[in-house]
Every structure is written in C-alpha cells, then in structure tokens.
Symmetry: C2
Subunit: 303 residues, 2 copies
C-alpha cells in the first residue's frame, strides 16, 4: 500500500492557513517528498510524519516556493538522526542550487546524491518506487512525476509443487529472480502469473497543459494537478505565467482516465474555489478541492 | 511611539504552534526586522503586518533558524510592490550568505545595501532608529542589538519669541539644525531644553551571558533575551551549545535595570516553562514568558 499526503496546497507564498505545495509518499518504510517550500518541515510535523525516512526528494523546479524550505528540512533530518544518503532529483542546476542553499546547512550527517534530469522523459527506480519524470512547460525548467508501485504476478504454490521446485527457492522466484542448482534452472515465469495492477500517482504543478502531461497521467489511481486559478477571468494570467487552471487540469484528468483528481498550488488570491467546483466537476466528476493534509492510502486492487 | 512585535519564539526549528524567533519594530512608518527564519513571512501575515515597509533587516547570525526565511520574504516584499532599497546588517559574510540564498530569489525590484559588522560595538543611525550592535559569544559570529529612539529637548516658543527668532526657522531649530540669515546664526540650544528620555529596546539571543550584554542592555524599556533552556538540568547543555538559560537572562535584566524582560528562542523541548517562572521571577520580577505575537507599544514618557 502507498500512503499519499498532500502537505500543503499554496502556490507562490505560504499563508497562515495554507502551506506551500508539497507532497509526501510512504511505501514500505521509504518516503519520497516532492518539493520542499518554506514551512514543509512544519507541515510534516503537523501530520506527525517523521522527516528521517525521506530517502528521495524530487523537485519540480527551483522557484523559491518549491525549494525554500530545504535547508531547514535537511538540518531537521540530521537532528532526527538520519545518517543514510538522501537522493535528490530535479532539473538541470540541481546540485548548484542545493549547494548554494546549503551555505546555511553546511554540515549534515548524511551525504546527498544528485540526479539531474535532462531528457523529455526519464525513468528511475528508487527504493521500490518506479519514478517517471516528464518535462513540463513553465517559465523555467520544470518536471512532473509519476510514482508507480509495480506488482508482479501472483505466486502459484500448486504450479511450484507440480514442477517439484524445492521449497527453499520459492521466495527467490516470487521476488522475480532466477536460480540454478544441480544443472536445473528455475525461472519466475514457472511459478508466477501475469503482472498484476500496481498503484500509480501523478504529480504535476507549474505548467501549461500538454499532451505529454496527459500521456504520463494516463490511468493514474490519483492525479495531483495544478489548480492555480479557478475564476475564468484568470485564463490569460494562467497562460502568461505558465500555470494551469482547474478546468485545464480537469480536462487532463478526464482525457487520462484517472480515478481521482486532487488540485493543488492555489494562487494566494484563490479563496472561494468551491463556488466553481460544479463547473469543474462537469469536466471531471471525481475532482477534489484538496486541503492541506489531504491524505489517502492506496491499496493494490487484486489479491 | 515604537511598536514591538515578537513574531516567533522558537529556537532551532519551527513547530506547528511556535514560529522561529524574529522580531519586528515599527516607528514613524519605517520597519526594522531582526532575523528571518523559515516562516517569518507567515508570522508577519498572521499579525497583519505588511512586509513592504521593512527598511532594515538585522541578522544576529547565520544559523539557518535565523535566516532561512529570507529568500521567501524578499520575494514577497517584491510582490508587495517594494522598490526602495533594503539595508541588511549582520556579522561578517553577510553579503556572501545572502547572495548565496538569493539563488532562488535572483530578481528583486529593489536593491540591497549590506553593512557588515566587525567591531565589538558598532553604532548605526538608520531611518530614525539609533542601532547599537554588540558582539555575543556563540558558536559562530553573533551580534545582539539595541534599538533606540532618541528624543531631543522640548521646544520653548517663549524663548524663541524672546530672542526674536523668525517663525519660519522654528521647525528647523526644533529638528536640531542650525540656520543663518542676514549674518545672524540661530542654534537649536537657543530654543530647546535638555534631551528627554527616549525609548530603548534590547534584543539578544544565541549567546552565553557576558558583561557586554549587560552593559548594552542597561536601562532598556524592554529587553528580549534568550530563554533556550529553563530546566536547571540543561545548564551544561546551555554552556556547551553557547545559549542562555532563563535564569541567566533574568540576571542580566536585573543587573541592567530593565523595565520588562521577554524571553524568546525556546528550545523545541521546552513545553512547560511556566512551572519554572516563580524561580525566574525571583531573580527578575518583571519577566514575561512571551508567546508568538507578543506585542507592545512603547511611548515616550515625558511630554
């Protein structure tokens, strides 16, 4: 199962009752954080989520509202006793930006591994998550991410017994590895059914809508997309500043056949978005006007 | 009159109900901020104080909890329409540290003037405030500050009339300037009484107690001093990490003959400080266990 918590929903600047956009994923003891604005460490504390198991931090881009909380978070992770390496992923200049910010967090008890994205789409496999980064269209280099928990086929003990596969190899085969003993080779496909449906979440803010976003979002169990503006009069501003409106994100969700859509990265001027939700839901019914701390546990559907 | 608002009281890391230590002063349309940790801009918003009129930012030192919120604040000041220069004051490396952090706030609609402190005590006169910076004893270069609003003597119209000083020069003389016309020189002492008592506030965190702190704090209307630890068992930790306990700050306040003492920069572990207040008040009666947003308006005492 995958726990998702949208730590904040604010774009541009943090507000007393709305923290900057950031999202944390928890799976199998490993946490992945997307973006870390000013106050993200407080949002984590408020949700009683320890920052210590954050193994990976994905950055969409380096506008301050998406990374300004990083030095404080790193220091707090160190104070919490983290000593294991932390992997950071983001567009070009990742190392340069993070190392500059670390002028106020120079000594950490863990190392940092940097993965800079340069391609249109890149796939990374980290800590049991399959991560697909995809390029967005913003005023600066920006990426969206899909996080997938893949699931192999179901192990069939009957087939294993029928083929006289020694019990000691069952676990290895179940994990998808091949094993050989006494000249006999046992392969996973001998005991496993077809791959089962996994879990897929897409996160994308700070972009104009693109075909690539729709493609990457396709069949997500949950899509967390930008809702910078809601009032139709802000369309021009959205285009100028390269953001997405609620309507544009709802269209992506509908075209991409997602199960549920959460909005995030609200403009500081957005206060009564609920008034526009009927129009938004007419485009994509399962749209949620998320609040800070919006959480869900996504489970595998099949046995 | 001088408005003082302690925006936050937390040391080390921000907490959901305690923002990082920072203080704002408002006098005659000009604001001075001391320190700017992660979330200070939110604390300002919560207090309905616009960041736009912040003319000066004083930094005690560059540990992250005292400066991590700077890039976000600067951007928000820019978004609020500030175009006038902002003066920053702090220990050595000020420009280097701020410019590094500005990797995520490179474009601002105002310029920044840097004043780096190097002496034991330095005096600055900025925007009607007399600022005295004084060196502290911390694990890194650190300064405390006194902010004084000086007050000249009272203007005596009877004396001005008696000396036949033209009415048009009264205002100039009242301001303390000298004026000459037709070979006649008029000086302020001709019409002003002796200097009247002004307002003085001292702010000092992140230091071991020193004689200099006591000296600089002397006769303050308000002293805001560090209260990192309260439990007497933390004395050794205070000495090791170079912080002050409630008792040490109360002793400074008593020796310095201040009117009122506020504590700030509480350790994240400090939750029931009120239990220790009787012991603290036995050292200095007018001690206040300040909370985020603690505010006071200090007025001139004399007419």
């Amino acid at each position: 199962m995958l726990d998702v918590c949208l730590l904040g929903t604010a774009g541009m600047m943090p507000l007393p009752n709305r923290k900057l956009t950031s999202c944390i994923f928890r799976y199998n003891g490993s946490q992945i954080l997307i973006d870390c604005g000013e106050g993200t460490q407080v949002a984590l504390k408020k949700q009683s989520i320890s920052p210590k198991p954050i193994d990976v931090i994905l950055f969409t881009h380096y506008h301050a509202d998406h990374i300004s909380g990083l030095p404080g978070l790193l220091l707090t992770m160190g104070n919490a006793g983290r000593t294991e390496e932390v992997t950071m992923v983001g567009p070009r200049r990742l190392k340069e930006v993070v190392e500059a910010l670390r002028i106020i967090a120079p000594e950490l008890p863990f190392s940092i591994k940097y993965i800079e994205l340069t391609e249109e789409v890149e796939e990374l496999n980290l800590y049991g998550y399959r991560i697909n980064a995809f390029k967005c269209v913003h005023r600066t280099d920006c990426y969206g991410y899909t996080l997938s928990i893949d699931r192999g086929g179901k192990f069939d003990p009957e087939r294993a017994r029928a083929q006289e596969i020694p019990l000691k190899f069952w676990k290895v085969l179940q994990k998808g590895d091949t094993v050989t003993e006494d000249g006999k080779t046992y392969t996973p496909d001998m005991v496993l059914g077809g791959a089962r449906k996994g879990i897929k979440v897409t996160y994308c803010t700070d972009s104009r809508p693109t075909r690539l976003i729709t493609k990457m979002t396709t069949d997500s169990d949950l899509a967390i997309l930008e809702g910078m503006y809601c009032d139709p009069s802000m369309q021009e501003k959205a285009e100028g500043f390269k953001h997405m409106t609620f309507y544009e994100s709802a269209k992506i969700a509908a075209d991409a056949n997602v199960k549920e859509l959460w909005f995030t990265h609200y403009s500081p001027s957005l206060v009564h978005a609920e008034e526009y939700m009927p129009k938004v839901k007419a485009i994509f019914e399962n749209s949620v006007l998320s609040r800070d701390g919006q959480s869900v546990t996504l489970n595998f559907e099949e046995d």
